[in-house]
Chain length 245, copies 2
């Protein structure tokens, strides 16, 4: 059977991936992915053939992987975090329609929302929304509407891609939009380089978050109305005070 | 150092946990958790001491685990999926304030949103909201407001705890609320027993989802306006048609 795994390797380190993913990589003939992620796994499997493409060449990368699988190789397409959260799983399914003899299997991993939450404490204990601030493929108005609705309904919010060179003020704009419904004292936090060398985090208020100095390797968390600071951690309670705790 | 790990073991099978979690369980003297989750790991570590409590005794369970850690044992508090998504991580931080010599470390795992998504295809490729339909600790009006806002902003929605004996009509009510902003033809899906024996899934429309026969081991997914069916899978595109794909 011709096979392609689309595997989420978690935040970065070898021990952040699931046993299932580790086994699938062992079993694969070829490892495909964005250069940075392939570098993360190359040390674990020095003898495997690897295929890499730069950041924005996703369609090309997926097609290359499917061609390898169609040629009879077992292929692992590697994504950071989870393969299905802003990952390659969807594009592989779309393109795989042209490769009917290739079986696709998605192997989930730990996405930055939950690996980042573990570093910050426990911000995602209650309902949450995950929003990417990248407007490369999504109209900014749509992103704004989501920020507004998520804040209005008191979701905890996790922001992916909060920053790039071209979008240096997007986090500030996002904070302003959410600030219409969330208190400026809302407990927030960011995590940088989750599970990798140089991991660091900071807890702050929504007011302070608007001017936070973050980079593209950062994931941002905005609490709900109940989220509080316990020591140096960000913790959201399991429910609301008017209900049994 | 006195230590408690709060570890997410993923969807169920031994190979769904991360290598890091597996190592932490090996290293622990005592494994604590809800009976069903402890049963999942007991086979892997037959010689470990285990402490279990039934479903609703979370505070008692966490306190028991912290007492064990305070007594000098390395303890692993085990959660299904991820420890920080409706898990015990928050409660442990709240209670750990009384045990200042116990170090808390949260070890993330694969939550049902992403393990379920991997079974269904790729529903979470774009912004999504995770909402629990359990009103045990949250007023139903709050849950309704979140469903409404998430639908209005065209989020993909993942529903945890969609069903219990006391709440047999909650999924239908949730579908009706989301139906005010989402088309009845919106592509939806459910997954049952993710990563465990008896795993099954079904793809359907929002109209059909309202009357779906599901149980408490089911996670439900409601697509955004762009989500479509490809073969027997549910796939959300990476962006919107008016933007470069």
């Amino acid at each position: 059977m011709k096979k392609i795994y689309v595997a989420g390797i978690g935040p970065g380190g070898a021990d952040g991936m699931t046993v299932r993913v580790q086994n699938a990589l062992k079993e694969s003939d070829v490892l495909c992915g964005y250069t940075v992620y392939i570098d993360l796994v190359r040390d674990m499997f020095p003898d495997k053939r690897t295929l890499t493409t730069p950041m924005t060449r996703e369609t090309e990368r997926c097609r290359m992987a499917l061609e390898e699988a169609a040629a009879g190789n077992t292929v692992a397409m590697i994504c950071s975090g989870d393969a299905g959260v802003y990952g390659m799983a969807g594009l592989i399914y779309e393109l795989a329609q042209e490769y009917s003899d290739v079986e696709v299997e998605i192997l989930p991993g730990v996405t930055a929302a939950t690996s980042g939450a573990a570093v910050l404490g426990a911000p995602l204990i209650h309902d949450f929304a995950v929003i990417s601030l990248s407007d490369l493929l999504t109209p900014w108005e749509k992103i704004e509407a989501r920020l507004r609705c998520a804040a209005e309904a008191d979701f905890v919010v996790c922001l992916y891609n909060p920053m790039s060179k071209k979008r240096s003020d997007y986090l500030k704009r996002a904070c302003e939009i959410m600030g219409a419904h969330k208190s400026p004292d809302t407990v927030c936090g960011w995590v940088r380089n989750i599970g990798r060398e140089g991991e660091e985090y900071q807890i702050m208020t929504l007011r302070e978050l608007a001017d936070a100095q973050i980079d593209m390797f950062t994931t941002v968390f905005v609490g709900n109305s109940q989220t509080r600071r316990i020591g140096d951690k960000m913790v959201t309670p399991r429910g609301y005070e008017n209900k049994r705790r």
